[in-house]
């Protein structure tokens, strides 16, 4: 479980996050949602320590990240896997080399064991036969899978995903979402996903934190989102006519009497 308490962060005098508190639960896919520019990337980067907030505390199962020294941070990071928006695969390494990288860097396994583990991770994300290709030679969806395989190679306790679906078609997005949901349950990880894809929100949102203009506006899950009375959330999630119709339908058929 990761707890964020009273986080405030500003850049050049402009406050991006205002006193944000949130709890991210173990074994669940925790979604941070919000418009572009609402501060969700800053929030996720603050939690992993790529950005240092001015005020607040971040607790990884009770361990305060802000109070840690360099060695403790380094050890904690071995428990963290992160999936970046652009996949961030190493261009100079093959697909297999990318997944093997954290293993050869941080474990004492033999080269054969490392290869086995890397192949296992690639199979887990349903990627076969691309071992010797370079990241530039495979599609965006495949790159995302490789990045997920690399992130889970060290069996992390915490998995962070920064917009895992950006730039992917809806079908591939759903596959990636389901993959993230499956591995979260399988390995009982604390998964934090930063997204503005409504398919993800309604499909895998087991715990949703809605950030609006730097404030934490709403917390709930994908079932509560239909009945939420929060105006900003409603406008953001059900932005187009189709989603509005879906919402009306769900409210009439599944939650009679709730909502408007």
């Amino acid at each position: 479980m990761i707890e964020v308490r009273n986080l405030t962060k500003s850049f050049d005098g402009k406050t991006i996050l205002h006193d944000v508190s949130a709890t991210f639960e173990t074994g669940k896919t925790n979604l941070i949602i919000g418009q572009s520019g609402s501060g969700k990337t800053v929030l996720i980067k603050s939690i992993v320590g790529l950005v240092r907030p001015e005020v607040g505390s971040i607790l990884y199962d009770g361990r305060d990240f802000m109070q840690m020294d360099a060695v403790q941070v380094k050890n904690l990071r071995k428990e963290i896997g992160m999936l970046f928006q652009g996949s961030a695969l190493f261009d100079s390494e093959t697909v297999l080399g990318n997944v093997m990288f954290p293993l050869s860097m941080f474990t004492e396994m033999s080269p054969a064991e490392i290869k086995d583990r890397a192949r296992f991770c690639l199979e887990r994300v349903n990627l076969k036969g691309a071992d010797d290709k370079y990241p530039s030679e495979i599609s965006g969806g495949m790159q995302k899978r490789v990045a997920i395989a690399r992130a889970i190679a060290l069996n992390p306790k915490y998995l962070f995903c920064d917009e895992p679906n950006s730039g992917l078609d809806p079908r591939t997005s759903i596959l990636i979402d389901e993959l993230l949901l499956d591995i979260t349950h399988e390995y009982n990880m604390t998964t934090i996903i930063n997204t503005h894809d409504m398919n993800s929100v309604l499909g895998i949102g087991e715990n949703i934190i809605f950030i609006n203009k730097g404030y934490r506006e709403w917390v709930g899950d994908m079932n509560k989102i239909y009945t939420s009375a929060n105006k900003a959330l409603e406008e953001f999630v059900f932005a187009n006519d189709l989603f509005q119709k879906v919402r009306q339908y769900v409210l009439q058929n599944e939650h009679p009497g709730a909502g408007k």
Partner: protein, 249 residues
């Protein structure tokens, strides 16, 4: 304004170097990366070094001949002047200025691209000291390979000069070769090698510094690689003055 900015940049460079020069996490990976960098930065530069050196060696010989056509100066002084110019300045300072363009821009754009595509962030998140992991093998590899490039440069420059003596009639071959050997000072060779070692560290570390702190996109990567070449060229010339004063006087 410029002074405070330069001092600020120099301070950040020093802090960056502090992160680079730490003990690698895994020596085995460090060595294999160093060998890879030697091949990429060093061995791949040999063709460029050879081509440039042959031409410049020939040009120096021709220009010396043009400038020293006097009955008072012995003909062998063309060989002597060619040798000393190559040993003192061309095979180290000028060669490093050329390599700053090739190797420096390569390092800055590679590391800069890794920064803007979040690959460096990915390394940091894994708990790898990205500055040390990416930059130290380049600095060490290039440092080790620099004397070899200088040796290649010296040898091929002399061959270029020799070609002019052999295939034109502006100077007899025997006079040229005699001049090459006359009044030889061994220290000049060591002086050139010592200078080149300093320059190699400047090229690789300054370029890595500019690449590492890129913010933005492809345009900024291009700018960083230009800035890296400009800054390392100026530093090479500055160090050249300081080292010449220290080593030759």
């Amino acid at each position: 304004m410029i002074i405070t900015e330069s001092l600020n940049t120099f301070g950040r460079y020093c802090l960056f170097m502090k992160r680079v020069f730490t003990v690698p996490d895994k020596w085995r990976i460090f060595f294999s990366r160093t060998v890879f960098e030697i091949s990429k930065l060093g061995v791949d530069s040999i063709p460029l070094v050879i081509v440039i050196s042959i031409f410049i060696g020939a040009v120096i010989t021709i220009q010396m001949q043009l400038n020293i056509t006097s009955p008072l100066i012995p003909a062998y002084s063309v060989g002597l002047a060619t040798r000393d110019i190559v040993l003192l300045e061309f095979s180290n300072s000028i060669l490093c200025l050329i390599l700053a363009g090739k190797v420096g821009s390569n390092i800055a754009s590679e590391i800069g691209t890794m920064r803007v595509t979040e690959q460096i962030d990915a390394l940091d998140i894994m708990g790898v000291n990205s500055a040390n992991f990416l930059v130290l093998p380049k600095v060490v590899g290039f440092l080790f390979y620099m004397p070899i490039l200088v040796a290649f440069c010296i040898a091929t420059s002399f061959i270029g000069g020799f070609f002019v003596a052999a295939f034109t009639d502006i100077i007899p071959v025997s006079r040229f070769i005699y001049g090459m050997q006359a009044f030889f000072q061994e220290w000049y060779v060591w002086y050139g090698f010592i200078k080149s070692l300093f320059f190699s560290v400047v090229i690789s570390s300054v370029a890595a510094f500019y690449g590492y702190y890129v913010r933005g996109g492809a345009l900024e990567v291009g700018k960083a690689s230009t800035n890296a070449v400009v800054a390392s060229s100026i530093l090479i010339l500055l160090l050249d003055v300081v080292l010449t004063k220290l080593l030759l006087q």
